[in-house]
Symmetry: D2
Subunit: 391 residues, 4 copies
């Protein structure tokens, strides 16, 4: 039997959109209140305040009403003023992707790049900052999802802070899947969203802003105001007694609250642990099958996504099509420079359960074998099980 | 008994966000697919194409992934180029609100304004266009919600078309509640959303674009590209075989499909008829209670919202607080220039059922009486019933 | 406009099934667990224990997995042994309906009946018990829904207890809408369900059993065992460490928990108050319109349903059809002896909000008028509003 | 990491309750209508009629409002009259379980039994019927779930029909998972439910009745009437213009319609194929791991559940606890005589997807190994994958 392309898949093991937790879907289906109803205003403040200990930013996190790409665009446009020299740390497609926005904002891009299977060395950041003291802002993508690699953002943040620079962190696909927040990354703008490891559908962003971050944005005459791209407009909007700049996405906010409640009830450490274990099991299986992971060193690998290097001769699109058609399992492709070179298996939110690694490996191994690149899937599964049992 | 502010209201009779249809809420709660899953890509194309006969635009409508204020901002930024002279028709707060965006885009604003309880006269539009042939774009808000008035957009559109100008129509809170679409309004950019009369939560916008509209945006070097505010980026995104500029709001798209299916199953004409009858009953009741509606003439009044003029001496905020506390009924306030001067009763989507007029009148009359402005609520209800029975 | 019979109504103001609370519907949609999964077993025990303070029975309430008619049948079959003389108190159709089941169980029915617009006098119960000391069981329907009347079950229960008899109370449509429970009614078998005033869909029953009740059932050799009609089988099933006699209705149990949580969060007294006020407003409106309520005295009238006497010459079925077709409002008919003689307006769970009285009165008045029996609906609504405001 | 008993499992791979399809859960969450609302009456008739081609009974199937154990109890009580000699075919715990009900109904039980790892031989049925011509009714459990075995009900039914006897078939856990219906099994009472292979929660039963079946029940003076256990009461209830004997479970009916629609849209043959393939893959894996399946011959094995024989020395309860704690995977135990001797893996409805066999095998193998009974899980998974790929 084969699953038709228009037939529902069985498992969505992508790097996003990911399946939502059932409780989040039920949250989305809650009655829609008027945004100025006092009950919704109270909800909005409560949700915002529930984010405080999770995001660990100096001020109450801002919820933006579009998926995180909007928050990233808004963050760059707000933080980067005309003439700012911005050190953009590039270890992958997403990190590189900030550059055009920096330039659009009138910033001068200084790039510190590494090959896309490696991660940024904090010492090189320090060197770059010492070499060009005119740098005012540093930007980094924590989990460059198209590569499945994790930059050492705590150490990088420490360096940036020591140099007194502002730091923009894109933690969209790592937040809530591992121990990263605005505080431990020393971020002035910490951009994330609930649609990856928190198990919400795409539609909202979350920003943690430091006092310095607010000051810089306010001082920027070109920072978006009276715009969907404005962060400034939303500074006080979390307060029940303040107006919204425009109508918030009520249903998504209800879904977010459900996601936060799940996350807190399970305990962030426990959530991170199952992300880490799922990824570890997945990597163990991939390697045992004789395949490679994309990150040059296993220590670079993300706990929220496993990037599997395509073996020579395997058409990556066909691999994913085969996994879906044969087993109903959906993976993510690479993006940009990594497109065609790797397949990504997401471990995010509801799919960050170790047993999902088995599902992924079986589908991956089966599809590769079907395409003529025979692998020992049983061995991979056995290795993954051993990793789970050791976890 | 009184409803506490943080206790759920019984009826949300606002001009938005409005309650969603139950089937829409269930649609939102559908499994979240990967945006590049072929099943979701097919869904996206199918939803887009289902909009074609409803929006009646020359090209397949664009879905933007933020509530309609985003689409309006994007529309102005895309359509208005440096130096464009834009005739902005202003009969209310929302119409006036386009001006700053036009100026931000480098446009020169030419305003044709009428008092906010009146509507634009197409003959004056013709006169203005004849007087200033350098005008390239005309913008109009069809239902200026803060006033509850409906501009004669078909006649206006005809004039604009005859003069060969481009027309931007904001039909956010009228579309799907009455017979307005891109074709009959001669709109080049027809901006609306599913979050008013289609009974979805806020989070998406819909744009119907003419061939001329696309050409103008493409010719505008400053039209947003590679941005959340871009319309151009999404031109082909409705096609299942084309990429999305960024991740669409999957859950909201599922909700939109449910809303479209409901709308088509009931039949647009039937939906419009119940909006019209609800509003007619509401107005009949308001007038019978000795109150005034805000529109200077009843023919200006919207079928999707009834704006009730505050009687002298009544604090509008207190009125709404009282209606909520006493009866659990939530109304909308005015906005900007109309704030404090009127209360708005929405008739949108699930609340556009004639019997809701009775609920609204009872709560309105009761609250007014409680605040010392005694009205004959029974008489109002009786008049509304008579209107319903005549409908 | 008219609502087609197969088109969804706007308001279901019946005496059941009633609309469910949105949170209950979301509860129903929770993932379905294996009944022997420890998480579900814990849920089942938790839900059962949450019922303890609400039902106030001497032992943990039993949940039966069918709507309350099943619990009533099971209760009679379990409690009544061959030769038991049962005093059946009959003030309406439902009370009378227990007799055949008593006889089927081998009981001898002794009937104390009053006209169906009146309620049982506790003094007459005392007299009957004194006159026939061989009576072992007394049965009473608290809220005889087809009449909309409430028997004084506290006083009756006191009499029964003083005579040392067992008492079976049917509180299906009163429980959670007013202050009635197993304790204050001195019930040995207190039969109710979550599908009326708790706002669940039909599908479950709740039984509160006294120690004497359990003893009597256990001593009855004919009490159902190994049967869907068994109560005995379920005595210990609430405990997480005990087996279920058969598979419980998992989804309905999830819905019940949501309903309990809502009820407790709002506070039973507050819930009862809004039921009482809705009914009071409804009665005030009915009387002000020149109509009669069915109960002979207003003090007999239920806070959870208002039975309106049909005026001479009005076809009751046509009245309800007209209210639905014209306004989308659904009422309940009478049953048995009251069929055709009255229309019932439910005030149960989500519809027990005072403003719903206005909806009911408008639809009732409008439909009567449409059928040629003109009433002053405005006067009715005004009287109801006054009652609400006084509440 | 370990999953706490009160923490949600990841996969419920039981023989029921099974997880419900998402669309069924959304169906359950639909607005609850009054049972006598014409829209619900139309729904009830439509749902009943949609069952006709699926159940393939001579008359419109009856929906009973309790889980299938109720339908089985009702079926025996209705079909078996005082003095009827009933040939009860016993190949497992469920088949045997009918005997006490037959006796309660006044029937004389004639048992044709085989060991619980085998199935009934139609030739022996023929012999038994020839030997005891006074037999009037034959009863058989199609899929004796506690054994995971499938009786050859088509051949048995043919024999029974040829002998002119009435046949009661329990197809609760096979219907909709394989090609069995009232017609091809020659059943006079075909008992099933939507809570297994149709992916609904427990709460409803479905009965297909032949003309002879109705006649026999009507002729039985002891057949339940005016009872929750009555089938007769419901004969005409499917018709929109007939009353319900008592309030149906509205929400469950809505869920059932969603399940039927899914089943028909996918196509019964396609649904059966994925059940069969999932089971085949599971069995292949079990055998490849060196374990045994419970059925004495693979041809006896059910496509909807795989019963795995416990290896000597393994505590079956501990095995299931370990699979849940370690991997979040829930299996079913045996029942009665098979309890402790086997573990069951369900392939029903949403879990009847071949890839679930991999999940099951990994959890089974991992848990066995953890308990000291090392198996080659990788080999099992490889065998299962090969079976899937061959399917």
């Amino acid at each position: 039997m084969r699953y038709a392309p228009t037939q529902a898949p069985v498992f969505t093991l992508t790097t996003g959109p990911v399946d939502a937790y059932p409780a989040v879907l039920r949250g989305l289906a809650s009655p829609v209140l008027y945004d100025y109803d006092p009950m919704f205003q109270a909800t909005y403040q409560r949700v915002s305040e529930k984010l405080v200990p999770l995001v660990a930013s100096e001020t109450v996190p801002v919820i933006l009403h579009g998926e995180p790409i909007m928050a990233l665009e808004a963050a760059v446009a707000s933080l980067v003023a005309q003439g700012d020299v911005v050190l953009n740390l590039v270890s992958g497609v997403y990190g590189k992707g900030l550059a055009p926005w920096i330039e659009r904002a009138g910033g001068v891009v200084e790039t510190l790049a590494v090959p896309y299977d490696r991660v940024i060395d904090p010492a090189e950041v320090a060197a770059a900052l010492s070499a060009r003291p005119e740098i005012t802002v540093v930007s980094v993508c924590h989990h460059d999802t198209p590569s499945g690699t994790i930059n050492p953002v705590e150490a990088i943040g420490k360096v940036v802070a020591e140099h007194g620079k502002l730091l923009l962190v894109d933690a969209v696909s790592s937040f809530a899947g591992m121990a990263v927040d605005a505080k431990n990354s020393h971020a002035d703008l910490f951009v994330t969203g609930p649609n990856k490891c928190m198990g919400c559908p795409p539609g909202l962003s979350i920003l943690g802003v430091s006092h310095k971050g607010w000051a810089k944005m306010k001082a920027n005459p070109d920072a978006p105001r009276a715009s969907m791209l404005s962060i400034l407009d939303w500074e006080e909007a979390w307060r029940a007694d303040r107006p919204f700049p425009f109508t918030p996405s009520v249903a998504e906010v209800n879904g977010l609250e459900a996601a936060i409640d799940l996350y807190v009830a399970e305990g962030p450490e426990a959530v991170w642990a199952r992300h880490a274990l799922t990824a570890a099991a997945c990597r163990a299986g991939v390697l045992a099958m004789g395949l490679d992971i994309w990150p040059a060193e296993e220590s670079f690998a993300s706990p929220t996504a496993t990037a599997v290097t395509m073996p020579a001769g395997v058409d990556e699109q066909k691999l994913r099509d085969e996994a879906r058609a044969r087993y109903g399992v959906v993976f993510s492709s690479g993006r940009g420079e990594t497109a065609g070179k790797l397949t990504r298996i997401g471990h995010m939110g509801p799919t960050a359960q170790p047993i999902y690694a088995i599902v992924a490996l079986a589908a991956l191994g089966g599809a590769l074998t079907a395409l003529g690149h025979a692998v020992d899937t049983g061995k991979g599964v056995a290795a993954a099980l051993a990793a789970i049992d050791a976890g």
